[in-house]
C-alpha cells in the first residue's frame, strides 16, 4: 500500500484566472491599448450600445469586439456591420467570460492591429462579476424596462464596475423611470460614473465615449 498524504494547498480557486487577467491588463497597458468589459442583463442593450460605439469610433480607431454568448453569432454580426472587427465566443452553457476565453481570442490576432478592445460579456448580473477578464474598466448596463429595483437586487456587479449605464432612456416617463436606478447606482459605490443612455436614439453615447477616456 502506497502511503496517503495530506497536502496543504491554501490557494484561491480563482487564482489561475486572476493571474491571467492581470497579465492581459499588463500587456494591454504596455501596448497602450484600451480594454473594456461590458456586462449586464440579457436584453439590456449591450449589443446596441456597442453598435453605436463602433459606428462612432471606427473611422478613427481600430475596434475589436469580443462577443460572449451562449450560442449564435447574431451580436457579433450586428456590431461588425458598424465597422468593428468582431469575434463571437460561444460559451456553450457558460454564463460568463473568463480570462482564458479572452486570451484564446487574443492569441489568434495581432494586438497591435487594434486600438480599442471591448468584450460583451454573457447576459447575466451575477457570475461575470466573479470572473476578471483583464479589462481596465468594467461597465454594467441595465435598462429602465428591467424595473426600478434591478440595481438594489444586484449590487455586487455594480460594486465591481466603474461605470453604470442606465439604458433605454428614450422610454423614460413612458411607464418607466430612470431616477431610482441612477440614484441607486451612484449610491452603491463611491466614484461610480452613471451614464443615462438610449442606444436607440444615441443619447449619452458621446458621454460614454468621453468617460471611457476616448477622444473623438
Amino acid at each position: 500500500m502506497s502511503p496517503e498524504r495530506k497536502v496543504v494547498v491554501k490557494k484561491l480557486a480563482y487564482r489561475v484566472n486572476d493571474e491571467l487577467a492581470d497579465k492581459i491588463r499588463e500587456v494591454m497597458k504596455s501596448k497602450n491599448k484600451l480594454f473594456f468589459n461590458m456586462m449586464g442583463s440579457i436584453g439590456a442593450g449591450k449589443t446596441l450600445i456597442l453598435e453605436q460605439l463602433a459606428a462612432k469610433l471606427s473611422s478613427k480607431y481600430r475596434v475589436f469586439v469580443i462577443n460572449g454568448d451562449v450560442a449564435t453569432t447574431i451580436d457579433a454580426d450586428r456590431i461588425a456591420k458598424q465597422g468593428a472587427t468582431t469575434v463571437q465566443i460561444n460559451t456553450g452553457g457558460g454564463c460568463h467570460l473568463s480570462a482564458k476565453l479572452i486570451q484564446n481570442e487574443l492569441d489568434k490576432i495581432n494586438i497591435d492591429d487594434y486600438d480599442i478592445f471591448i468584450a460583451e460579456n454573457v447576459g447575466n448580473l451575477i457570475c461575470p462579476a466573479a470572473w476578471d477578464i483583464g479589462a481596465q474598466l468594467n461597465i454594467t448596463v441595465v435598462s429602465i424596462t428591467e424595473g426600478e429595483y434591478v440595481v438594489k437586487k444586484h449590487p455586487i456587479i455594480f460594486k465591481n464596475s466603474e461605470i453604470a449605464i442606465i439604458n433605454k432612456c428614450d422610454l423614460d416617463g413612458l411607464g418607466f423611470n430612470s431616477d431610482v436606478l441612477a440614484e441607486d447606482a451612484a449610491k452603491i459605490k463611491s466614484g461610480m460614473k452613471v451614464i443615462l443612455t438610449s442606444a436607440k436614439t444615441g443619447q449619452g453615447i458621446d458621454e460614454l465615449i468621453t468617460t471611457l477616456g476616448i477622444e473623438l
Binding site: 496517503e4 498524504r5 491554501k10 484561491l12 457558460g94 455586487i156
Partner: protein, 124 residues
C-alpha cells in the same frame, strides 16, 4: 450557475499538485467558501463529479466543502474583516462597515480556497 467553471479551475490546480508530488491518486479535496461566494455546494460537487469522471487519478475521489467567514473591505476606513450582521437595509448583498458604518464596502466573493488535497504518493 458558474459552478462548472469553478470546479474546472479547482481540478486544473489539483492536477498540477498531483504532478508536483508525483502522486498516483487523489483521494479527497477540501475547499472552503464564504457565505457570499455565490457557489452552490451541491452543484459544485456535481460538476466536480462530471469533470473528474474520466480522469484516472481522480477515480473515487471526493470534494468536500467547508465554510469560511465572510469578509468585507471598507473603502472608507480600510476595515477588513467580518461585516456587521444586519447587512445594508437598502441593498441586497451589501454590508455596512462595523467600524465606521459606511455602506461603501466591498464584499469579497472570491474566497473559494483549495485548502488541502489528500494524495496517494508511492514511496521511493
Amino acid at each position: 450557475m458558474h459552478e462548472y467553471s469553478v470546479a474546472s479551475a479547482i481540478v486544473d490546480q489539483v492536477k498540477a499538485i498531483v504532478e508536483e508530488h508525483k502522486a498516483t491518486q487523489v483521494k479527497k479535496i477540501i475547499v472552503s467558501a464564504s457565505p457570499y461566494d455565490v457557489i452552490i455546494p451541491e452543484l459544485l460537487i456535481e460538476a466536480y463529479g462530471i469533470i473528474t469522471d474520466d480522469l484516472d487519478k481522480f477515480k473515487g475521489s471526493t470534494l468536500e466543502m467547508q465554510n469560511s467567514k465572510a469578509e468585507i473591505t471598507c473603502l472608507e476606513c480600510d476595515y477588513k474583516g467580518e461585516p456587521a450582521e444586519e447587512g445594508d437595509p437598502e441593498f441586497a448583498y451589501n454590508f455596512i462597515c462595523p467600524k465606521c458604518e459606511s455602506r461603501d464596502t466591498h464584499i469579497n466573493m472570491k474566497n473559494l480556497t483549495i485548502e488541502t488535497v489528500d494524495l496517494v504518493i508511492p514511496d521511493n
